[in-house]
């Protein structure tokens, strides 16, 4: 590297740092002069003087020292070398993430492509559950861990609840999507069966003439497919999983709302539930007592 060449980045940086050092030195001198002219005496001897002003000389000296040290040729060269390697470091950081993303996308496409392909008409017994759950799995394996990073500091509990709600919402969304895709399967299968039936009828020359008859065939086929689906254990499991995900999301969302409500002059749902429970128990006791009193007053009341 040519040190005295004015066009090189090194010499430009050197000149700039030199000017910077001189600027801080001048500022320091100006400050010292200003202090004396005001008759305030030496810093630290002013009793109840401005403490902010006391810290100025130290800060300015530190900045001056930093600029001077940075303008040393060795340090400057090191700094520039670091700057040159920055894109390389960034690339190294991004590369695994990108590779992971591509891998996930590939996996997702493979699994999604299998959705609905593995079952025959009127059969929901061997659904490719893995394919339906592809997104959930990927989420749980790859993304969920970031939401579980421990939170720190004063607001850690609030952050934790926020992360939990985000997590539960993602799971609910994924489960719901899976459930909806399951509900759509009979429509898909019915269309296929309907096409086959119509082809058969056409071969026999028995195609219906009225559009209503086509509709009747379709709705009957659809109903049959839904009944088969609803009776399958896969559907029941999926339904329960969706309801559980909804419940868990509702709880997580309520916790966040309660955090927000605590800041406002309104009771939270938990406050109200506690109150309702107390009311419920008290009312029940009063009603029981009323009945006992009534029975004592007129023992023949129970005819």
């Amino acid at each position: 590297m040519k040190e005295n060449d004015a066009d090189t980045p090194l010499s430009m940086m050197e000149n700039w740092l030199k000017a910077s050092t001189e600027m801080w030195e001048a500022s320091l001198k100006m400050y010292a002069g200003a202090g004396r002219s005001a008759g305030a005496g030496e810093p630290g001897q002013r009793g109840g003087g401005n403490k902010l002003m006391d810290t100025w000389p130290a800060n300015l000296k530190a900045l001056q020292a930093l600029s001077a040290a940075m303008s040393e040729p060795d340090a400057l060269e090191g700094l520039l070398k670091g700057a040159n390697t920055l894109p390389e470091i960034l690339m190294k950081m991004v590369q695994p993430a990108m590779e992971g993303l591509v891998h996930l996308q590939k996996e997702w496409m493979e699994k999604a492509g299998r959705i609905g392909k593995s079952t025959a008409a009127y059969s929901f017994e061997n659904l490719d559950q893995e394919a339906f759950r592809a997104w959930s799995e990927i989420y749980e394996k790859e993304f969920r861990q970031f939401l579980n990073i421990p939170h720190l500091g004063l607001t850690r509990f609030y952050q934790e609840r926020m992360s939990e709600a985000t997590d539960k919402f993602n799971i609910f969304q994924a489960t719901m999507a899976e459930f909806i895709s399951l509900l759509f399967l009979p429509v898909e299968k019915s269309s296929k069966v309907m096409r086959e039936q119509l082809a058969e009828m056409a071969d026999q020359g028995k195609l219906p003439e009225k559009s209503k008859d086509y509709y009747r065939i379709w709705i009957k086929t659809l109903e049959g497919h839904y009944m088969t689906l609803f009776k399958s254990s896969e559907y029941t499991e999926d339904l329960c999983r969706t309801l559980n995900a909804l419940s868990e999301y509702a709880v997580a969302r309520r916790k966040i709302l309660e955090d927000a409500l605590r800041m406002l002059p309104v009771p939270t749902q938990k406050d109200m539930d506690d109150l309702y429970k107390e009311m419920y128990i008290l009312k029940k006791r009063i009603k029981d007592l009323e009945k006992k009193v009534k029975r004592t007053e007129s023992p023949t009341n129970d005819r």
Binding site: K210, S211, T236, C240, Y276, R303
Partner: protein
């Protein structure tokens, strides 16, 4: 390969005809829909004679002197509303009862709110129902009342009759589940796997809309598609539109179910089937069906997909009564109350059965 012969000309002609008809229908339908429609439900006059918390007791205004010695208390389910028994003037179970001189009382469970989430089956049966029965007995000077339960209200009525047999003259159960260990109905299959604790702990009360969605999913092809196709095809018919909207008003009027009641109903009944096994405990007392010694009339629908015959038809063999009767009508869960056929079979059948048993035991022995 032989060429398939498709009658394209006939199909096109049919489509053209359909399109023409649809256009005419749409024109008429706009007149019907923009006209004033009579879609009110539950129009039979009544007085609210008792109130406790959210619960009200309706007393229908008699059309004349009651021809029965014992009043009738109708207990509806906590799901949907009791207005179904008085859906439209010409198809009203309540009207049929009144026309035949029955003194009709009906429980309106109201709309539970968050504060009702702690209410259990015990609170409904030994609390509200018992207070209401006592109120009616006091008001009418009758020693006992006739009790008629609808669906879940029928289950409550069976429990009540076992716990307080001295207050019940006759018990009528209609589409009421008492045996939950059956796989005839999808609801029974699904409920066995539902985590009731999780749902109640997170949602408080069980939202009516979620339950309604569940009912629609029992047969989406018919309930979410075919039903509305039927409406489109008949929307130029004013009377059809009015009745359709009445039914829509009723079906989507779904109060939430108090959380603790839902939890207990699912766990003790749907999942453990404790009632029919005489193992159910309510308010610290075991529900023993052998204590149901009054006459029992048990109605259910052959094509009921919510409460299938298998969930209803064990009851009469398990109760202590010697006067029991099962009636299976060829209809569904709602059809039993509103279908044209049921209007002749269902409510008049109940009236006659009650009339045959309206006589006091003492009088009966004297007559004998």
């Amino acid at each position: 390969m032989t060429q398939t012969k498709i009658p394209v000309d006939l199909l096109l002609a049919s489509l053209a005809e359909d399109a023409e008809r649809a256009q005419v229908r749409a024109q008429k339908a706009s007149d019907v829909l923009l006209d004033k429609l009579e879609t009110d439900i539950a129009v039979t006059p009544y007085d609210v004679v008792y109130e406790e918390d959210r619960v009200k007791l309706k007393h229908y205004k008699p059309l004349g002197e009651s021809t029965f010695n014992y009043p009738l208390l109708v207990v509806y389910a906590l799901i949907n509303r009791e207005t179904m028994l008085d859906l439209q003037p010409d198809r009203s179970v309540v009207q049929t009862f009144l026309n035949n001189g029955v003194d009709v009382y009906m429980i309106d469970w109201g709309y539970p709110t968050r504060k009702d989430k702690f209410l259990t089956i015990d609170d409904h049966v030994n609390g509200y129902m018992d207070n209401i029965v006592d109120f009616i007995r006091e008001k009418t000077n009758a020693k006992k009342v006739n009790l008629m339960g609808i669906c879940m209200g029928g289950t409550f009525s069976v429990i009540y009759s076992a716990l307080h047999p001295e207050k019940i003259k006759n018990l009528i159960t209609t589409v009421s589940p008492t045996n939950f260990d059956t796989d005839q109905g999808l609801l029974h299959i699904w409920m066995k796997n539902v985590d009731a604790d999780k749902l109640v702990d997170s949602l408080g009360n069980m939202p009516g809309d979620i339950m309604n969605l569940g009912f629609l999913l029992l047969n989406p092809a018919r309930l979410m598609i075919d039903k509305y196709v039927g409406f489109m095809e008949n929307m130029d018919n004013k009377s059809f539109v009015e009745n359709f909207i009445r039914m829509e008003k009723w079906i989507f009027d779904s109060p939430d179910v108090p959380g603790e009641t839902f939890r207990q109903f699912v766990k003790d009944l749907y999942q453990k089937n404790l009632l029919i096994k005489n193992e159910l405990e309510i308010g610290g007392n075991r529900v023993d069906l052998q204590r149901v010694t009054m006459p029992v009339l048990n109605f259910y629908g052959k094509f009921d997909h919510l409460v299938p015959p298998g969930a209803c038809n064990l009851l009469t063999s398990k109760v202590g009564s010697t006067d029991t009767r099962d009636v299976c009508i060829e209809t569904g869960h709602i059809g039993i109350y509103v279908s044209g056929k049921s209007q002749k079979e269902f409510a008049p059948g109940i009236v006659q059965w009650l009339r045959d048993r309206d006589i006091d035991a003492e009088v009966r022995s004297q007559v004998a």
